[in-house]
């Protein structure tokens, strides 16, 4: 039935038009809801009459009145496709799409959604339904399917990109720390001349590195929080959807902190050690 429903949606784009023709009396015309995107793209208004057909040729078209509009539930699998959809009462859809030669057509649907009193019982209920109703497929909505697999792959892809970015950032960070530490060569040399031990200086650098890392991580998170809105708005505008593309969750924040802090501290330690292990006189000599 999926292809029939899609053909219906496609037929809407061919036949939707403002009404100006002989039509049944208002109370005989069944109502239909159309998606906001369809309403806007075709310049329709609530109250307009449209003719919907299963076939692209328009054969068997029926008249409907636009009762209202709705925002389609965002579907990440279809975010790039324009949501040109309509919702009919089930009897109207069946009357429109049923094959007249099939006596059971009027009783056929694509799927039946079941809301359980206890959602945690879904798996057991699905098994039970499948056993009692041979020829049917019963599946909990949370069961993994192909769509889940797609997002698992995308998540791995994003993670791979993140890993590469972190490697690049780490090198950048190390380069910066090497430069910053090198600028303090004279100071470090003088402290060593006075009698400060390597460990003592390293601890000071460690503390500084931790402060810089924390400050940097916090700044980065604040920047991410501030920019997630902008990104979402841009993509929502681009794809005309209400889907949320970017979300900085507490888990993401913790992951960022747990990565940034050790990285920042390690970079300052490595950079400091390359300086501290040098001969004292080379530190103070110009």
């Amino acid at each position: 039935m999926n292809h029939l429903r899609r053909s219906l949606l496609g037929a809407v784009t061919l036949l939707a038009a403002a009404s100006a023709f002989n039509s049944p009396k208002p109370d005989d015309v069944p109502g239909v809801l159309i998606s906001r995107q369809l309403l806007e793209s075709r310049g329709l208004r609530i109250g307009d009459r449209v003719r919907l057909a299963r076939e692209a040729t328009g054969e068997g078209a029926r008249t409907f009145r636009i009762e209202g509009t709705y925002e389609p539930t965002p579907d990440p699998m279809r975010f790039a496709q324009p949501r040109l959809e309509a919702r009919l009462h089930l009897p109207d859809l069946l009357a429109l799409t049923a094959d007249p030669s099939d006596p059971a057509a009027g009783e056929s649907v694509t799927s039946i959604n079941v809301a359980l009193k206890d959602p945690s019982d879904a798996a057991r209920f699905a098994l039970d339904a499948a056993a009692r109703l041979p020829g049917t497929v019963a599946r909990p909505t949370r069961a993994p399917d192909e769509r889940t697999g797609t997002f698992v792959v995308l998540e791995r892809f994003h993670l791979a990109i993140a890993v590469v970015t972190i490697v690049g950032s780490a090198v950048f960070l190390l380069a910066l720390m090497v430069m910053l530490i090198d600028e303090r060569r004279g100071t470090v040399g003088t402290l060593r001349l006075i009698g400060f031990t390597r460990g003592r200086i390293l601890m000071q650098v460690l503390a500084e590195g931790a402060v810089i890392a924390v400050a940097g991580a916090v700044f980065g998170i604040l920047f991410a929080l501030a920019s997630q809105d902008a990104f979402n708005r841009i993509f929502q505008w681009r794809y005309d959807t209400t889907l949320i593309f970017l979300r900085v969750t507490p888990r993401v924040i913790w992951q960022s902190l747990l990565l940034a802090l050790p990285l920042g501290i390690a970079a300052s330690l490595v950079a400091s050690w390359t300086l501290l292990r040098r001969q004292l006189l080379t530190l103070v000599r110009r």
């Binding site: 499948a130 380069a175 681009r238």
Partner: protein, 417 residues
Amino acid sequence: MRSLRLAWLSLVRQPARAVLGILGIAAIGALLFDMLLLSRGLVLSFGELLQRSGFDVRVLASDAPPFTGPRLADASALAGRIARLPEVEAVLQLRVREAEIASFGGGGVAPDGPMDQAVEGVGRRRRVEFIGADPQVRSMWTIVEGEDLPDAAAEAGPLVVNPNLARRFALSPGSEVSLRGRCANSPEALPPVTFTVVGIAEFPFDSVTSTTIAGTLADAGRLCGDAGVDRAEMLLVRSTPRAGAPGAAAAIRALEPLLHVVTNEDLIERFSRVEFSYFRQISTVLATVTVFFGFLLIAVLLTVSVNQRLGEIAALRALGLSRSRVIAGVMWESAMLVGAGGLLALPLGALLSLWLDAILRSMPGLPAALHFFVFEPRAIVLHVALLAVAAVAAAAYPMRIVAVLPIAATLRREVVS
């Protein structure tokens, strides 16, 4: 002494800094290169797959994606009319049905394997996709073993199966298999139909888990008990070399204005705009981020380096080295860092692309031959151009520091500090 040599010596004077700068550029340059490969990779790969099928125009009943919209009515007559167009070389009807393997060889039910899920009702591993096509037209698949579907009708319907199916069920030319159609218009179980495998073929759009079978149009109808129903999912059209795809498409549109006619290029454009748009977007975003990151890295490195050498630079200017000579030295430093890093980024990026491509290709349902990262010379040109822009931009501020450096004040400051 040339600015180039001075720049080189300035870099090697601080080897750790230079190496880190180059490595940093290499890492993000690799990502940049990969994003450039990704930006058109899917389009190129998809286009190649379409070409591989051997047909360059598709006729559908609506503009819904292939196999998701309504079927073409009176498909045979329609195919005949289109085939008679002078711009058309061949037309292939495609009827797609879902079926399940009922039994093999002499009978008996195919056993359910560990992958079956009872909750599904039917063993998933026994599901197949049946493509009905006209054997007299050159097919869209490639025979790797055995023979193609015969032109003449055979007693037991001939089948061509894909290698995955053949491997899974140990099928080879001569094997018998019974299929039962899973058709939407038949709520009751259909009787199984026996077929004989005549060949094993690779189907261009098969995923790694696809179980694809091809047979005749008539057999597709027998499977669902609708042999008399003349409907097809799609017509594949091969244009004549003289007319080309646009010419054939225009002729078909003129002949059948209500149908949806797309060339391979149209399909690629649509997929690029819709289905592939996420990857184009992410490649653009990440390419921008990496270029900016590279610019930032080199700008910071050079600025700090220049600031640490202000005294030397002022002394050189006092000695008479021209401003442009010293500025050129900074530009050369940037060019060398970015150039070395950018070069290193290419093999790194190539390796990285293999990894990323492997990740993305594991998406369920994708054609196994589809690649996300496809090399084209344009990617290298863009890679070089973008890094060059980054190098110039990164050197701008340190060059400015050098350009406006007050010689006397700097010398004085150096003495005092």
